[in-house]
Symmetry: C2
Subunit: 643 residues, 2 copies
């Protein structure tokens, strides 16, 4: 019991490491040193300086190059890039964010929205010769990017764009790098030429000189202290008629000629906007991955503590009881471990899909769009999970959990904003649900609620049953397992998947009906708003189903029998605990009898009993090396383990 | 709509302010200045110094005296003391904790466990001439106080106690004041005399000299950075054979004579232990109150922001929509406001009960015990609420919510440990449930699981129906409202209360049955542990019922019709959202039909619609003055309110 370091753990870790397992293994060695860990005793100015130093070390490791195409000086391995950077999250989330801003967001904008004329910047940004920031969000508009207020007005007299913040709410805000380090910003602004607004475009705008002073017309501010992420210098930028050459427009999808005439291969402005944003999908993929990594660190710490810490005597034996042996503690932590497993498989699957699309190996025109929806959904699932899991871990470690030296509070503080940045979770869940309701119809993809609700009211309900290969998957599993139709056996994967798919279908269909019915009575916004909780539930159900599918796919790839059997139990717990959480819904909508719901609750208890002896194996499988846990209490056996 | 500052808000505020409303009003004026606010830019050393300075100012205000009896130099107003100190939480939670440690915990130990011979200390600790700390928790034992390891061994040769930390896990830990400021500690230790362990007692032990250096045999350590509460100097204390005079034993309930003979008026050691701990109930009462105060500050900020911040256009009007007008946002915040109202009434009721017991106006021998159970339960409910509400508020304010200047992250970080200190919430919920199961039987009150399960197995089930006046209350309400028996109308208070009481009764009764059945098969610990989730649910249901009763009582005292009608809707939302949360349970146990559960969900939506126009009135009623909100974004209308 709890011997750990078993070959079962190794097999499971290999499975959870996914397609870029070698990248993870390499990173575990490269990043284990003290020089990459966060130092919570530094004030935020010093923390920023330290992270910048860490960045300089990392920039020599060949990690950043993976994210860029060969013609741009990279190695063209997006999957390896996201995976490798994710490992920084084990060391320090400030470092991960800083790297993500520089190479992912700023670098990604130049790489994906720019053309040859911007190529010169990429080598410089990889090597950190050029430090950049990604200036999209404004104080007045974050989720609603289409309505940001910064303008980029073309002046044919000088062949320049004039960047300007016309209102107080137009200031760029929360921008990582804007407070201190960035010399250049990828600025999103309304492009105006010939007196006409062409919508949101991105331009490169120098903001500081070599000495770090604001350039003329640019005023930067420091966002100062935040809930966490002290090593990231978030700030504000206000532009007062700042001029940049016309060539600074990142012109992959649209360009302005010297005479001010505007051209674009994408005629529909809404589609152009979403194509622009869509190239930035890697950010959302990465945020979800890093949040889940943070949750794995926290769970690794909390479980190991619960395997050492004792409290109250067992009267049957006289020995003090390990926290991990309490039912309530098992119910706190094991379902979160199960969800971490599920999300790890889902993330690996997502990164693989992203890699295939971004390396041109998947040319299906639907693939990019499907990738965006999946990335949005998994960003929600993983960041929500991280918030919940890390909170639970802190509480499960009591007073020790509150000491910074035991790291949980830092993980909590650093990841807290992950539910917000790269897309607020409520807005993203809604986005996922809208896609479901409109069945990927391009013409309603803009965020205008009016057009969308009108479309949904006519289309949805007819199309909902068409999408996704889930029915095929269920059938395949039934065939494979030679299952007779035992609809009642929730331990069968096909039954589990059917239940998840039924919930999703029902919620999508009924949300569509409700929208249609209400839209006639009230205005479309009112109709939409009235059904918002229903729509969000549909989005969540979809995400849950995707995650389960990924878990099931992942199970099939585990060759070692012991490891697979253990993972099967973990998958069952993921399903049972999620069904338990939603049991009111399942009963109320007649997908589950009261008796079965009670059986599910008992099932959760049985599963946590079943998994108890493998607690250490499970956290070892999650793949956070002990050297990277950095929780003082785990090194202090004499104090906590009195057995 | 949203005009605010209405007389309705004033009436509601008066109701929520409770019996010591004048104390709250006075504190709102006294504490509004910058000098009492936290300064998040200070490092923790400076933050501690600042809080100590604030304490010195407060010690001149007459606030601390209220907590002590007249014969000890106080004014003998425990209700006013707890209420007045709670208001410090609006200013800064570090300050509140520091005051609570000095006057509540340390002062409370001397006042309640000491006798005349310790009176000299009280005047000095009120004035801060003597700074103290409360050294109960050890690294190895927090929840299980009965098994702490520090020893106080009487040496008749010198008429002294020898205080000692025999093991690494015996070190005192997380002790507020131990790192820097405290000169004396109220140390809980196993009292040994004549070679016999007499159980846990409390002694006063000087730990530092006037210059702040550790006294001989005492070694203090700094717990360093924590998740929050930077102004509190938590630390560790290790004792190496430290000698104190015999008279330093706080000897109200037990004493040791010069010859080493031990005497106590309370013969049963277990009852003596619980009597000792019971006198400290004010700590739990206070923690719950301060946590709820923190939640009110956060909700006041988040709601005001949602009434200014807009995002996405309403296509029906072209105007950007206020966050507060989104259904999802209403569902996020209004149920939390409703719970804050409920808990405010419950806290006022608790403080009033405490006041009556502690001033000798309530001499019912059951009152102290009932008070302890209620304080434990409300500590759980309020701290859990704070954790959840403040998290939700942070997320509801997006990126702005993550900036320290908007205060929500500080509230989150500072309150996070409230679910742990003064009793871990899981352990306290269990304590409440055990009391229910054993129906207050003194003889099983010790924490020994063996005896307890044996008792529960024979007694529970028979006694569960006897306790509490809830049935009387329901009947009274039925009579008052001239209700015919319409069991189905959940808008009736009697039906609501019946539903809550039914849930509690059922859970307690079935937990008892389950224990009885299992105890025969397995050992008692195994039986208990197997049913732990069930037992915890019973405790939670009890707490929910108490809170609802307090809300209903509070409603009856609101004389203004508009105010009362509004509060009635808030109470409905409290009930509906709580029933919605537990709807799976209600359906599964046949207390509610599927149709009614669906109606409850619709009811929540209708109630948030109903309350939307009164959002500002509701937060004004919560009584956090605008001057104490200290969220920069609320002062920055040009950026966020673009109407």
């Amino acid at each position: 019991m709890d011997t750990g370091s078993s070959s079962t753990a190794d097999h499971l870790r290999a499975a959870l490491d996914g397609p870029w397992g070698d990248v993870r293994e390499e990173a575990r060695k490269q990043l284990a040193g003290d020089e990459f860990a966060g130092d919570p005793h530094l004030d935020y100015k010093a923390a920023r300086a330290r992270v910048l130093e860490q960045m300089r070390t990392i920039s020599t490791m060949g990690i950043a190059e993976r994210g860029f195409r060969r013609e741009n000086g990279g190695t063209g391995e997006p999957g390896a890039a996201v995976t490798g950077l994710e490992m920084l999250a084990y060391a320090d989330l400030s470092l991960w964010v800083k790297a993500g801003v520089q190479w992912g967001l700023f670098g990604g904008a130049v790489e994906n929205l720019g053309t040859e004329r911007h190529r010169e910047y990429i080598e410089r940004l990889i090597s950190l010769d050029l430090l950049g920031c990604f200036a999209m969000t404004e104080s007045g508009h974050g989720s609603d990017v289409a309505n940001i207020e910064t303008t980029a007005t073309y002046d044919p007299a000088t062949d320049e764009f004039v960047i300007h913040s016309p209102t107080p709410s137009a200031r760029k805000d929360y921008i990582g790098g804007a407070a201190e380090h960035a010399r250049m910003a990828a600025v999103f602004a309304q492009l105006v030429t010939d007196g006409e607004n062409k919508g949101v475009h991105c331009l490169l705008v120098p903001i500081r000189d070599e000495q770090g002073a604001d350039l003329p017309g640019v005023t930067t501010y420091d966002d100062g202290l935040k809930g966490g992420l002290p090593g990231v210098d978030n700030g504000r930028i206000v532009f007062d008629q700042v001029r940049v050459p016309r060539e600074n427009l990142l012109n992959r999808y649209a360009d302005v000629a010297p005479d001010g005439s505007y051209t674009s291969d994408i005629e529909n402005p809404s589609r152009r906007f979403f194509t622009t944003l869509g190239t930035l999908v890697r950010g959302r993929v990465s945020v979800g991955g890093a949040a889940a990594a943070g949750a794995r660190v926290a769970l690794s710490i909390a479980v190991r503590y619960a395997l050492a810490r004792r409290q109250f005597s067992d009267p049957d034996t006289g020995e003090e009881t390990l926290l991990m042996d309490y039912r309530s503690h098992q119910r706190r932590l094991f379902p979160l471990i199960a969800r971490s497993f599920a999300l790890a498989f889902a993330q690996n699957d997502l990164v693989r899909r992203m890699h295939l699309v971004q390396t041109g190996q998947n040319l299906d025109p639907e693939a990019q769009r499907s990738l965006e929806k999946r990335a949005a959904g998994l960003k929600v699932a993983q960041t929500r999970h991280a918030t919940r899991a890390i909170q639970e871990c802190r509480e499960a470690c009591g007073g020790a959990g509150y000491l910074t030296e035991n790291r949980l509070v830092t993980l909590k503080a650093d990841t807290d904003v992950f539910t917000t940045f790269e897309g607020d979770n409520v807005v993203l869940t809604q986005l996922v649900a809208k896609e479901l309701l409109t069945s990927y119809a391009d013409e309603v993809r803009d965020l205008d609620a009016l057009g969308w609700v009108r479309f949904a009211a006519t289309m949805a309900g007819d199309v909902v049953r068409k999408r996704s290969g889930v029915r095929q998957m269920i059938q395949t599993m039934r065939d494979r397992n030679d299952e007779s139709v035992d609809e009642g056996d929730l331990s069968r994967r096909s039954v589990q998947l059917q239940l998840f798919a039924d919930r999703e279908d029902y919620l999508v269909r009924t949300a569509a009906h409700r929208l249609r019915a209400r839209a006639k009575e009230t205005g479309p916004f009112e109709a939409f708003n009235n059904a918002q909780d229903h729509i969000l539930a549909a989005g969540t159900a979809h995400i849950d189903r995707l995650v389960l599918e990924a878990f099931i796919d992942g199970l099939a790839d585990i060759e070692d029998d012991d490891a697979r059997h253990l993972a099967e139990a973990v998958c069952d717990l993921f399903v049972y605990s999620l069904v338990e959480e939603h049991s009111a819904w399942f009963i109320m909508h007649r997908f589950m009898s009261v008796e079965r719901a009670k059986a599910v609750r008992r099932g959760v208890n049985e599963l946590v009993d079943r998994l108890r002896p493998d607690a250490l194996t499970l956290v070892e499988a999650m793949g956070v090396p002990e050297s990277m846990l950095r929780a003082a209490m785990l090194d202090d056996a004499s104090v906590y383990d009195r057995r």
